[in-house]
C-alpha cells in the first residue's frame, strides 16, 4: 500500500541520502576532534604522531573492512580477534619450523581462512545464527591459540616476516600504503564483482537472493572465509608490530571493529553500508583513542566518551531516518 500519498510516486528520498548524511557527520566529527586534540597538544599534528595513529589502527582498518562485508550480509563475526591470535600462532610456528617467511605467511592466512570456513559452513549452509556460531569460534580460536602457543609468546626475528607490520619509511609505516591497497582491492571486490553484489543481495533479502538464483548460502560461506583470510593478514601485521607471536593478540578487536562499522553507517540488518563509511568510522575511533592517550585523559572517562560518541551517532541516525519517513 502507499505510505504517504503522492510522495511515494514522486521522490520520497530527501536531497541527501542517509548514508551521505552519516559521512558528513563523521567527517565533521573527525575535523572537530582533530582540531580539539591539536589545540590541547600541538604534538597531535606531528608527522610522527600521525604515523603512530595510522599504524595503531592499521589492523582495525583491515578487520573492520572484513566486518563490513560480514555485516552487509546481515551477519556478524565475533571470532576475528581470537582468529588473529590463532592465525598468528600458526604462522609463527610454521615460520619457526621451516625458517621460510612465505610459508609462514601462507600458513597464517590459511589458518585464518579455516576458522572462517567453519563459520561460513555453520552460518551459510546450516543456517545457524551468526552470533551463536562466531561466539563459539571466538572461544574456540582463542583456546586453539593458547594451546598451540602453550600459553606463552614466541619471539620472531625473521626480518621478512616482520617487514609488513614493523618497518617504517621515515615516519610512514609500511603498513599504511598496504592498508590503502587492501581498501582498493576490497572496493573493487565489493562494488565491481558479482560476489560483491551478492554480498549486498544476501543481506538485503536472503530468500529473494535465493529465488533469483544468486546462491546466497555460498556467498555467506565465502564472506566468512574472506573475513578469516583478512584476520590472517592482520595476524601477520600484528606479529610484525610486536615482533613476536602472542596468544592474547587481538583482544577486543571484534568489538572495536563492530563499533567502527556501525559508526560508519552499515546497517546491523544487512544490505546497507559502504566501505568508505567504515574507513571514516575507524579513523574517528582511532583519532579519539589516540587523542585521549595524548591528552592524558583519565582512563576511567575514556570508555564513557567512546560510548557517548557511539550512542550520539546512532541517535542522530534514527533521528534523520525518522525525518525521512514522513
Amino acid at each position: 500500500m502507499e505510505t504517504a500519498g503522492k510522495t511515494t510516486e514522486q521522490s520520497p528520498s530527501p536531497a541527501i541520502s542517509a548514508l551521505a548524511m552519516r559521512y558528513l557527520v563523521l567527517a565533521a566529527l573527525i575535523v572537530i576532534a582533530s582540531l580539539g586534540f591539536g589545540f590541547a597538544n600541538e604534538n597531535f599534528f606531528s608527522l610522527a604522531n600521525i604515523g603512530i595513529l595510522l599504524r595503531s589502527i592499521s589492523v582495525l582498518f583491515i578487520v573492520s573492512m572484513a566486518m563490513t562485508f560480514v555485516m552487509l550480509t546481515g551477519g556478524i563475526d565475533l571470532s576475528v580477534g581470537s582468529n588473529v591470535a590463532f592465525a598468528g600462532g600458526v604462522g609463527v610456528i610454521a615460520l619457526t619450523a621451516t625458517g621460510s617467511a612465505p610459508v609462514g605467511f601462507l600458513a597464517a592466512i590459511l589458518a585464518g581462512m579455516s576458522i572462517g570456513l567453519i563459520n561460513g559452513i555453520f552460518v551459510g549452509r546450516m543456517k545457524l545464527s551468526a552470533f551463536m556460531v562466531t561466539l563459539a569460534t571466538f572461544a574456540l580460536a582463542r583456546g586453539l591459540a593458547l594451546v598451540i602457543y602453550d600459553a606463552d609468546s614466541i619471539n620472531v626475528s625473521n626480518a621478512i616476516f616482520l617487514w609488513l607490520g614493523g618497518t617504517s619509511w621515515g615516519n610512514v609505516p609500511v603498513v599504511i600504503p598496504f592498508v590503502v591497497l587492501v581498501f582498493a582491492v576490497l572496493s573493487v571486490v565489493l562494488y565491481r564483482t558479482t560476489f560483491g553484489r551478492d554480498v549486498y543481495a544476501a543481506g538485503a533479502n536472503f530468500k529473494t537472493a535465493f529465488v533469483l538464483g544468486r546462491r546466497p548460502e555460498r556467498t555467506l560461506v565465502w564472506v566468512y572465509i574472506l573475513s578469516g583470510a583478512l584476520a590472517g593478514l592482520s595476524a601477520i601485521i600484528t606479529v610484525g608490530r610486536v615482533s613476536s607471536g602472542q596468544p592474547w593478540a587481538g583482544l577486543y578487536l571484534e568489538f572495536d571493529a563492530i563499533t567502527a562499522v556501525i559508526l560508519g553507517g552499515t546497517s546491523l540488518f544487512g544490505g546497507r553500508g559502504r566501505l568508505f563509511g567504515t574507513i571514516l568510522g575507524v579513523l574517528l575511533y582511532g583519532i579519539i583513542i589516540n587523542g585521549l592517550v595524548l591528552t592524558g585523559t583519565n582512563p576511567y572517562l575514556q570508555s564513557l566518551i567512546k560510548g557517548a560518541i557511539l550512542l550520539s551517532v546512532v541517535l542522530l541516525d534514527s533521528w534523520t531516518q525518522r525525518g525521512k519517513q514522513r
Binding site: 572537530i32 580539539g36 597538544n41 613476536s244 583513542i289 585521549l292 595524548l294
Partner: protein, 345 residues
Amino acid sequence: MTLKSTSALAAVFAAAATGSAFAGNDDALDIVFINDGHVAPYHVAWLAGFEDAIAAYGEAFPDLEISGRWLSAEGSLERMIQQAEVTINEAPDIMFVNAINVDAFEPLVAQAQDAGITWIAVHSAMESADYSFTLGDITNGRNQGMAMCALSGGEPFQVAIMLGQAGNPSGEARRQGILEGISTCDNIEVVAEQPADWDTVRAQSIAENWMTQFPELDAISGVTDAYMYPSLAIAANSGRSDLQLYGYDGDIPILEQMRDGPVMADILLSGTREGWNFVQMAYRLHRGDELEKVYDFFTPLVLTEENHRLALENGFPENIEVYSVDQALDVAANGFREFGPDSVR
C-alpha cells in the same frame, strides 16, 4: 546531537589542559605509567597511590616541576603498544611500563632510549630496560607455600590453587614459587589448579565448583587477593570455617580478615605502597641516586603473631622477614611514610 558530542569532546580537552603539563621549566620531571589494567582493586589502589605521590612530591619540592599520568591498556597488548608509542613521541623523562608481554616491547625500549627516556620495566624484568622494578614473585610465592607447610598441621592436607591468566609471566612466577614452597613438606596435595584471569567473578564460580568437587579441601591458595573476596564469602556460606585461605597482594580488606578470619597468610605488596614507591624511585633517579638495575620491591610475608610463632615451631625458617597484621596494615595504609617525600630528604 553534534552539540552533544562537541560538549563531550570539550570536556576531554578541558581534562587534557589541566592534566598534562608540558611547561618548559628548567627542573622538570615528567613520569608516565602504563599499566595493564585499571579496575581490579589492586590496580585502583596502585594508581591512586601513584597519583597521590605525584601530588605530594610536587608540594614537597616546589622547585621541581613534577608531573605524572597513567594509562591503562585494559588487558590488550596492541593497545599497550600504541600507548607506549604515543608516549615515546611525547618524550617524558621516565616511563614505567607493566608490559603484558616483555618480548613485544624490546623494539620500543630501544626507541624510548633513543629519545632519552628512562624505561623502567615493571614486574617482569627486562635486560634492555634501564631499570626493572620487580616483586620477587618466586620468593613471595615460596614464602606463601612454606607458610602453608608450617600451618597445615602435618596431617594430609588438600589445597587448590587459583592462577592468573594463562601465559602471564607474573602469575606463572607466583605459581612456580607457591609450588616450590609447598614441596618443602610432603603432607600437602595440590588437588586442582585453575586460571581465573585475575577476575573476581570468575574466581567465584571456580571456588564454588571446588567446594562441591573437593569436600575434603583444606585450603585455597591464590596468586592475587582479588580471589580471596569470593573465597571468603563461599567459605562462610558453606559453613567451612576450617578452610584456610592463602592470599597475595596485601589488599587492606584482606589483611583485616587475617586477625580472626580464615586468611592465614598474605604477601604485603599493597598497590598504594607500590604507587608511592614508583614516584620515590623516579625522584631518586632524577636526583642522581645510584640504583640497582633490578630494583626489588620490599614485599614481606604477613602472618599473625600467633601463627608466626606456631610456624616457627613447625620449622618455618627464621631468616624470612615476616610482618604482623598490624604492621602490615599500617604500612599499607600509609605508603607515604615509607616512600613519601620525607623518605628522601
